[in-house]
């Protein structure tokens, strides 16, 4: 394997990882507040089209990202009202949001088919990314650095800030949080909105960074991988980062098996169908869950109220 090959592989893996890292981080925060939002795929697509559309009108990808966050957050609010206000079933509502987001983004996207939007420039001086090795550090889209920066920020928020403490408390025991005097519904609205915004930015990575064009269903199921990632990570931010890059590597294997095959380099992998690689993130999630529960600490990190509606007793 040549150095060029390795550099190309790493760049590809970073690109594959960033959207699921963003969406997964948002979903992690949502789930920490006790809400299971299965609508990640739909919110990513809504973010993708919103970001694309805003960029197409303003020619400013930064405004586009803001639009993507708003698009994802707005679509998540649809879910939030149903789940928090009307106490609808979270699983069913989340699935509905995924289907709805896919459909609505396609409908809006019709008007933008074939258009190309301006992309992000580098946030570093061009000279830094000239050398191929330095390109590995400085050569990415700003969204990649944003995703990486959000990991420690979110970890710090959850662990060390009072708001994060309250958010976790609401996810652990909504009735206790309510009886102490915290607004369970308010906290969950905020957490769902954050999850939606992050999923939206994750989706925009497809329509604004990977290709500057819009295509229907362009997130290609990555929202579901992001959901698996949160479970795989055991609701921990550090493990989410590691898991996202691991999943990114598995997705790269899938692409590589499809495009090149392992014929030259690793002949013994030649006969494995690419679908096996595509299934790997899910297989790994199940394996990780089994491993965690066999060590007897399952649930130690899963929020106790995850997926349960909050019905105050008064």
């Amino acid at each position: 394997m040549s150095p060029e090959f390795i550099i190309a592989a790493i760049v590809t893996i970073v690109g594959l990882t960033t959207p699921i890292l963003l969406a997964g981080l948002g979903e992690l925060v949502t789930e920490k507040s006790g809400v299971l939002n299965l609508g990640v795929e739909g919110m990513m697509l809504m973010g993708a089209i919103a970001g694309f559309a805003i960029t197409a009108f303003t020619f400013n990808p930064w405004l586009g990202v803001l639009g993507a966050a708003a698009g994802g957050a707005l679509s998540s609010m649809l879910f939030a009202v149903l789940v928090l206000q009307l106490n609808s079933n979270q699983v069913a509502t989340g699935l509905a949001l995924s289907i709805f987001g896919t459909g609505l983004s396609s409908l809006i996207g019709n008007a933008f088919t074939g258009r190309i939007v301006p992309q992000f420039g580098s946030i570093f001086p061009a000279a830094l990314a000239k050398d191929p090795i330095w390109k590995l550090v400085f050569g990415y889209s700003p969204l990649v650095y944003f995703a990486l920066a959000m990991i420690p920020l979110t970890a710090w928020f959850l662990k060390s800030t009072r708001a994060g403490l309250i958010l976790r408390a609401v996810g652990e025991n909504d009735h206790s949080a309510h009886s102490i005097g915290y607004s369970v519904t308010g906290v969950r609205y905020a957490a769902i909105a954050f999850g939606g915004a992050m999923a939206g930015i994750g989706g925009a990575y497809f329509s604004m960074v990977i290709t500057p064009m819009w295509a229907e269903k362009m997130t290609a199921g990555r929202g579901w991988i992001a959901l698996a990632l949160v479970v795989f990570a055991g609701w921990r931010t550090g493990r989410l980062l590691a898991g996202a890059y691991f999943f990114g590597f598995l997705m790269w294997l899938e692409l590589f098996a499809k495009a090149n095959g392992f014929g030259n380099s690793l002949p013994f992998l030649q006969d494995i169908p690419s679908q096996v690689w595509a299934a790997m993130p899910y297989v790994m999630t199940i394996a990780a869950l089994t491993l965690i529960s066999s060590r007897g600490n399952v649930g130690a990190s899963a929020p106790a109220c995850l997926g349960k509606p909050f019905l105050p007793s008064t």
């Binding site: 652990e172 025991n173 206790s176 949080a177 102490i180 130690a300 929020p303």
Partner: protein, 520 residues
């Protein structure tokens, strides 16, 4: 000249669908007064304090705080006024640390390090032991309560509401708590103290307000009243003593436990170390101890939820049951009631009738050919409800629609009416009022009179002393030698509960000595 009352309630009423929980309740709490709130389960005490703490709003009536009429919109507003509360059902977050739990109860954002220093100061001042960085799910009931108490004390309250605070403490700890409360009262803090333990109220409180069926029955001076007279005001009738048959003789040994060791179930669990005791037919054997000393592990080992490695460890009538499952043990004549009512002893979302099926299906013939006989289950649940005066709409009522005490009565009844040969119960009357507790105690005594062997694990020493023939103390997973209850020295038991004992007194073979003591 006189200062207005700290808290003055006037004409408070609260209606729930179908129930008038509080009906025109008026009383006042003076600054520095320790005021008891007494009443049976469902008398409306919880509803009343929830309104004082701002969790609920009264439908009618006024609350006056230090002479000012106030509306307490939420618990935050209550804390702002200086009202603190220690709940009976702890509002704790299991997956979080003690420190995080306390921080959540604070309205101001205090840096973790300062808060920890404050917590340690309060703990030292009041002699409450807690490790700030332990995860709550690893703590015992008693330790969890200490979190609530520390949390409330950190707010320097002017009125502290305590809902059944002593049910999980040793006599020494209760004394210590009383010292704290008297100290607080002397500093001017009023205390509203809810308890079923009438002698505690006599020892501690200046005034007692008694509720029955949502109405105020009496406000009296506990020093003048007797425990009995207050209990009778509470239940609105005369209180029954435990009646035991005359000339009762214990039979042969029914349950033998020897060399029972169970490794700890997690980093903060308690391992059982060579537990040994024997219970005769007709005997009630008590296991005293402070929460978190292995009581749960012992109950699980006895009930069969944790099968034992040593096949001889548990025997019923000489038959080895230590490696049988809970279901097989039930078929061998053993029944058990765990400490946690909701979620362990009963499924909250199941009807009472379905909950009856869970443990009584085999012994009461509720299942035949793999099919549940719903009618038998319903009849049996109905019988339990009637026999134990469970306040429920019927066998179809959901378990979680019952108050804690009523559900406890149902669960105890469900097991007792199966007439088990051996019954193991944990905390049979925790959170249950005096009238219901007396009924449960009487049922246990009656069951023993039919020749069953009964093991009662309880943190309520008074309960064990009034109920048991013999008791032993569990401390850090070790069981003391059995002590005959007539003539038992409370001081000594209290010291054993606190773990102040010579190691050699608890010799390695105390299983053997236990048997010897019984044989003699």
């Amino acid at each position: 000249m006189q200062t207005p009352p700290r808290l003055d309630l006037s004409g408070i009423a609260k209606r729930f669908p179908g129930v008038l929980a509080n009906d025109n309740v008026s009383f006042a709490v003076q600054p520095g007064e320790i005021h008891a709130l007494l009443g049976e389960n469902g008398a409306g005490k919880s509803t009343l304090v929830k309104m004082i703490y701002g969790i609920m709003q009264p439908d009618a009536g006024t609350i006056t705080w230090n002479g000012q009429r106030v509306t307490i919109a939420n618990p935050k507003a209550a804390r702002k006024l200086g009202i603190g509360m220690v709940f009976q059902h702890f509002s704790l977050f299991e997956a979080m640390t003690v420190l995080e739990n306390i921080a959540l109860g604070m309205d101001a954002n205090i840096p973790a390090r300062d808060l920890e220093a404050k917590i340690i100061a309060v703990m030292q001042q009041y002699g409450l032991k807690l490790e700030p960085h332990r995860i709550v799910s690893t703590l015992s009931v008693g330790e969890r309560q200490r979190i609530e108490i520390v949390r409330a004390l950190l707010l320097n309250p002017n009125l502290l509401i305590m809902d059944e605070p002593t049910s999980v403490l040793t006599p020494q700890e209760v004394e210590q708590l009383f010292i704290v409360l008297r100290q607080l009262a002397k500093e001017g803090c009023s205390i509203l103290y809810i308890s079923h333990k009438l002698h505690e109220i006599k020892a501690l409180c200046d005034t007692a307000t008694i509720l029955r069926g949502g109405k105020l029955v009496d406000t009296c001076d506990p020093a003048v009243e007797t425990s009995r007279s207050m209990a009778e005001k509470m239940i609105g009738g005369s209180l029954k003593d435990i009646t035991r048959g005359e000339g009762r003789a214990l039979g042969s040994v029914k349950l033998t436990v020897q060399g029972l060791s169970v490794p700890k179930d997690g980093p903060f669990g308690i391992a059982l170390k060579d537990i040994g005791f024997a219970v005769k037919a007709g005997e009630i054997f008590g296991i005293a101890g402070v929460a978190g000393n292995g009581q749960n592990a012992l109950l699980l080992a006895l009930s069969g939820e944790t099968p034992s490695a040593n096949p001889d460890a548990i025997q019923i009538d000489g038959k080895r049951v230590a490696q049988l499952t809970a279901k097989q043990r039930r078929l061998s004549g053993m029944a058990s009631v765990p400490e946690e009512r909701n979620g362990h002893a009963a499924v909250p979302d199941f009807s009472l009738s379905d909950n009856a099926i869970l443990t009584a299906r085999d012994r009461m013939g509720m299942v035949s050919g793999g099919m549940v006989n719903a009618r038998t289950a319903k009849t049996y649940a109905g019988e339990v409800i009637a026999a134990f005066s469970v306040k429920a709409t019927g066998p179809a009522a959901m378990a979680d629609s019952l108050s804690g005490g009523n559900l406890q009565k149902f669960i105890m009844g469900r097991e007792i009416m199966q007439k088990p040969q051996v019954l193991v119960v944990s905390q049979p009357t925790w959170g249950v009022d005096a009238g219901a507790a007396a009924a449960i105690h009487q049922a246990l005594v009656d069951l023993a009179a039919t020749g069953s062997a009964i093991v009662v694990i309880s943190q309520d020493l008074d309960e064990l002393l009034s109920l048991c023939d013999t008791l032993a103390v569990i401390n850090e997973g070790k069981l003391s030698k059995p002590i005959p209850v007539p003539g038992a020295n409370i001081e000594e038991i209290g010291l054993l509960m606190g773990g102040i004992h010579g190691e050699n007194q608890m010799g390695e073979n105390h299983g053997e000595t236990a048997e010897l003591a019984h044989a003699s």
